[in-house]
Amino acid sequence: MNLEKIIFGFFIVLALTLNVGFVVGELANPGHHSLWMLFAALLVSLLTTGLKIGDRSQIGAVLLSTSLVSNLQLILAVSVWAVLEGGMDVVPGHDKMVAIVSLAYGALVANGVSVLMLVSDTLMSRR
């Protein structure tokens, strides 16, 4: 058991689960997507990026890049929510909700790749 591995794995998987938590439900229904969930997903994703910085191995580089993609997508999603159609004070309309959730779906894919690579790396090293 390795403390580093525990922390690392915990945050990578948490980023994925929070992301899933945000996107599930009807795509355009504002009632199914919580702003707080999106906020938490973004925070954890940023934190994960921080953990990944400094790994010199090949797999570390790819993990970092997937993390950067997920950050970018989530930041865009939050920006759309905050800036368009009256900001966060009003319930978002149909078009705006579709844009936000689509962006979050993109981040979900990047997070999924991250977890996949983490698992396969662990299996490959076999120790």
């Binding site: 390795n2 403390l3 580093e4 591995k5 922390i7 690392f8 921080g50 953990l51 990944k52 910085i53 400094g54 790994d55 010199r56 191995s57 090949q58 570390g60 090293s125 076999r126 120790r127």
Partner: protein
């Protein structure tokens, strides 16, 4: 340059052979079409009813090629029908002649050779990695090609025998080996085979003719001053000549055979180890056949017999020669005249001999000697020479103590020289006084590491593969040879890899120790299984794996983890003190 001249030759042959048929066809078409257009047809609404030139051409085309659509565009007049009949016959005859000529052309031996040469030159041009040129695809050549294919090395083969090149095409090599049926001593063919390319690692000449080998060596050296040449040669005179050519590795199958035999007799353990390592899995490392020391009988005193006799004499082994040839020999030699048979063997003292070498160049004789020996003295240790590869089954049934194939021994030797040149250094070392003391140790190590799977050799240069090692070294983590050989799955286990020679700045360290620290100037010859080799290569690439192999615990990855590890260490320290 070579390719264009080849192209010229091909087109010249085609033009020369197809010119007359083409002219005949042209004339026939001209006559037929002109006649058809001039002959008046049925009077119709448009007037005279003659065919225009285009319709005449169309008619002639379909009738001369025997397609025959009928009377198009409208029914013919009688005059037209008469001309159409003539057209049919002359057209068909002209076409038959043209097709016949074409078929003769594509069977033209010169054209076929020219095309084969072009195809060969093209496929050599397409090779984008280092390759070898083998001239002569006999027993030795084909065994060498097989060995190269097993090491995933490409070879280009030239042999003057069509049958051998056909045989090459039927082999199931792991990679394609282009072959050309031609005289390899002609410079053009050597250039086609790529001798002038920088990718060409070596030219190996193995033709049965000494003179051809010599010629190829000279040509290759002139065409490419830096290429390595391995030349088969058995006479002293040629060898001296080859030395002036420069940088030629001379391979004398008889001498190699004799030395191998001496190794087999004097240091059987070393012989068994080498035999096992280069591919004879049947060799038993635990109990190798041990030839006894004492009087040996040599049957056959040709070039090989002489080499064996002098090799054995160097180790003070008494020999008696049985040979039918009346040749002047030195007086010291104890010899019996005549073909080896029951009486001559008895005369040579088979009853009190410990070993016999059936070493004539005739396989039937060798098997016969084996049979009479078994009758006269069944306890004698028998070594038999197998000349032809196809007699394998007969020899394996003869139950000799040791079967030696000159072609196989030569092929293995050349293969080692080409793919693992450092191994030859090791062989020389193990035959020296210092090295002989370590044979037991190396056999022991081999037995401990390998579990029966076939090992192969590879040379690793740390100048290119050692960047991770160097970066760790700069951070104060010295990586040793033993670290690298640990299994990345579990560092307490060892990979099935045995380091044989480590070369560092011109000096070679034979059978290097596990504690040896690696640097980026090292070149190491390993022998090991294929999966183990892959594991080794992947752990060399990854500095985290190397760190684990060296220290036994994971290096923190990422700045945060590094900081965390530092904090924990700082937290541990006061608690301990």
């Amino acid at each position: 340059m070579a390719a264009t001249s080849e192209l010229d030759r091909v087109s010249a042959i085609i033009l020369r052979n197809m010119r007359t048929p083409f002219l005949v066809l042209l004339a026939t078409y001209a006559i037929g079409i002109t006649g058809m257009a001039l002959i008046p047809g049925e009077e119709g609404a448009e007037g005279h009813g003659r065919m225009n030139l285009y319709h005449a051409f169309y008619f002639f085309t379909y009738s001369a090629t025997t397609t025959g659509f009928g009377e198009i565009p409208r029914a013919f007049s009688d005059a037209q029908r008469l001309w159409a009949t003539i057209c049919l016959y002359i057209g068909v005859i002209a076409w038959l002649y043209a097709i016949g000529s074409f078929i003769r052309l594509i069977q033209h031996p010169e054209l076929l050779t020219a095309l084969a040469e072009r195809r060969f030159a093209r496929s050599v041009q397409r090779i984008s990695h280092p390759f070898f040129i083998i001239c002569g695809f006999g027993d030795t050549g084909s065994l060498l090609a097989r060995g190269l294919s097993e090491n995933y090395c490409t070879a280009v083969v030239i042999d003057s025998d069509t049958e051998r090149i056909k045989a090459l095409g039927l082999r199931d090599y792991r990679i394609s080996m282009p072959g050309l049926c031609a005289d390899a001593s002609v410079p053009k063919h050597l250039i086609d085979a790529g001798v002038t390319r920088t990718d060409c690692r070596a030219v190996v000449t193995l033709t049965p003719s000494e003179d051809t080998n010599l010629k190829i060596a000279v040509m290759a050296r002139t065409l490419n001053p830096s290429v390595r040449i391995v030349c088969r040669s058995t006479t002293q005179q040629n060898r001296e000549y080859l030395e002036t050519v420069g940088e030629v590795t001379i391979v004398d199958p008889y001498e190699i055979f004799a030395r191998q035999l001496r190794t087999a007799i004097c240091t059987p353990l070393l012989y068994a180890w080498e035999d096992w390592l280069v591919g004879a899995l049947s060799t038993d490392l635990e109990k190798p056949p041990v030839p006894p020391l004492g009087k040996w009988i040599l049957c056959g005193y040709g070039r090989m017999g002489k080499a064996i006799s002098s090799a054995l004499k160097e180790r003070d082994i008494e020999t008696v020669v049985v040979d039918p040839d009346q040749v002047p020999t030195d007086s010291e030699l104890h010899r019996v005249m005549g073909r080896a048979g029951t009486s001559t063997l008895r005369e040579a003292g088979i009853e009190d001999a410990v070993g016999i070498v059936a070493g004539t160049d005739c396989d039937e004789d060798n098997l016969g000697i084996l049979l009479s020996t078994r009758k006269l003295n069944p306890l004698v240790f028998s070594v038999v020479r197998q000349n032809h590869h196809e007699n394998e089954l007969a020899f394996s049934g003869a139950r000799a103590n040791l079967i030696m194939q000159p072609s196989l021994i030569t092929a293995r030797r050349i293969l080692l020289a080409l793919t693992a040149p450092l191994f030859l250094d090791l062989r020389i070392y193990l035959r020296s006084i210092e090295g002989r003391a370590r044979i037991g140790e190396v056999v022991d190590r081999t037995e401990r590491i390998f579990t029966g799977r076939r090992p192969r050799f590879w040379t690793l240069s740390l100048a290119s593969a050692g960047t991770a090692i160097v970066s760790l070294q700069r951070r104060g983590v010295p990586i040793t040879l033993g670290d690298v050989l640990r299994s990345p799955v579990d560092r307490t286990r060892r990979l099935e890899v045995l380091p044989l020679v480590l070369q560092r700045r011109g000096t070679s360290i034979m059978l290097p120790d596990d504690g040896l620290e690696l640097t980026d100037t090292d070149t190491i010859l390993f022998c090991g299984t294929v999966p183990a080799g892959r594991m080794l290569a992947s752990s060399l690439q990854n500095s985290y794996t190397l760190y684990y192999l060296h220290t036994g615990h994971e290096e923190p990855r990422g700045y945060f983890a590094f900081w965390l590890a530092k904090q924990r260490r700082a937290g541990d320290r006061p608690a301990r003190s």
